[in-house]
Symmetry: C2
């Protein structure tokens, strides 16, 4: 499909950009996809991509049909001291999943579990981009950052699965702030506490 | 379908028992389903159900087509001191999922995520039955046992999702024993450590 000559503002143009973005994110991943390349593939000016989607984050969220942008969801985490990031991350996550938008998030999770390629795209965006705020500015090596981010992500993913997918009680109907306290402490330990197992494999802590 | 008069030993008989078991577990849940009732529904003698499936656990695992029996998987947890149960649970779980049987476990997880009724049956068996070994003999109230079991389950579920479903690095390719140390410590804290959030909601710790 050659998209050159599409008129700005037509629904076709927006769809052409999204189709090009989906193909690029699937082929190259989030980090190695550029707005310039997507615009070229769609036959439009990069400024038009910015106009429609604001940023590469926004383009990704629209291309993969994320009901919310995880980078925006986790933005409050950057506003609290490092020692409070675990609780802030749980609070931000539950805020979305407990809201009317939670149904869309659950539908997305189900579709991604059934579709490894879609899961891979979401994984790279959520873990490689959105969760980065958890370990920003802690002076960790890249390897240690990746390890702690993944461990914290495992607890956050488990909370989502237990509360919304499996609906395990008493987690499924617990007040959000009880989970912020209980699970936030576990996430916090992965971020800034001692994590056993690193020493013997050459980690930093 | 009236199963009375089926000959013991015929494949039809085994299938009739499994069909009756599936219907009973779905309608009444694991705890309130009895081998006697399943045998009656299938038109066979209860001794035949025991002969084929050994126990209600075994009947459930066969009815829901679990690739392994979670009660047997977690049996090693009962053999270690309470303070080592977190690590033992992670080790037992990874032992199965890292084995050739792991592909079947992953397929089961995918099908359960897409099928809330199947997920509900598995949840009741895994959380209400198999994970009970984690908090056995700790002198906890039933409510506190349920809370700690669910929290520990959230971390175990998150580890499975992160390593095998989302394939997040470095967790996806980490040596099992590194995860036993790092994640086992988090599970252990949920089982026997202080868990924030209980105080303000009237919990025991």
């Amino acid at each position: 499909m050659n998209g050159r000559g599409r008129r700005p503002g037509s629904p076709d143009t927006r769809e052409a950009i999204l189709a090009a973005a989906r193909a690029a994110f699937a082929a190259h991943g989030f980090a190695r996809t550029t707005i310039r390349a997507v615009a070229r593939d769609a036959g439009v000016d990069p400024a038009l991509v910015h106009h429609y989607f604001g940023s590469k984050d926004g383009l990704f969220a629209a291309a993969v049909e994320l009901p919310v942008n995880p980078v925006e969801v986790l933005a409050p985490v950057a506003a609290v001291p490092p020692g409070e990031r675990g609780a802030a991350a749980v609070r931000a996550l539950l805020g979305v999943w407990d809201s009317p938008g939670g149904a869309g998030a659950l539908a997305l999770f189900r579709s991604a579990v059934a579709d490894p390629e879609r899961m891979a795209m979401i994984r790279e965006f959520v873990v490689g981009r959105a969760l980065g705020v958890l370990t920003a500015g802690l002076g960790l090596s890249p390897a240690e950052r990746a390890r702690r981010t993944a461990l914290a992500g495992s607890q956050l993913a488990g909370l989502i699965v237990t509360r919304y997918v499996m609906r395990v009680e008493p987690i499924a109907s617990a007040p959000a702030e009880e989970l912020v306290a209980a699970v936030g402490a576990a996430v916090q330990r992965y971020l800034t506490g001692p994590v056993p197992g690193a020493q013997r494999y050459g980690g930093l802590d």
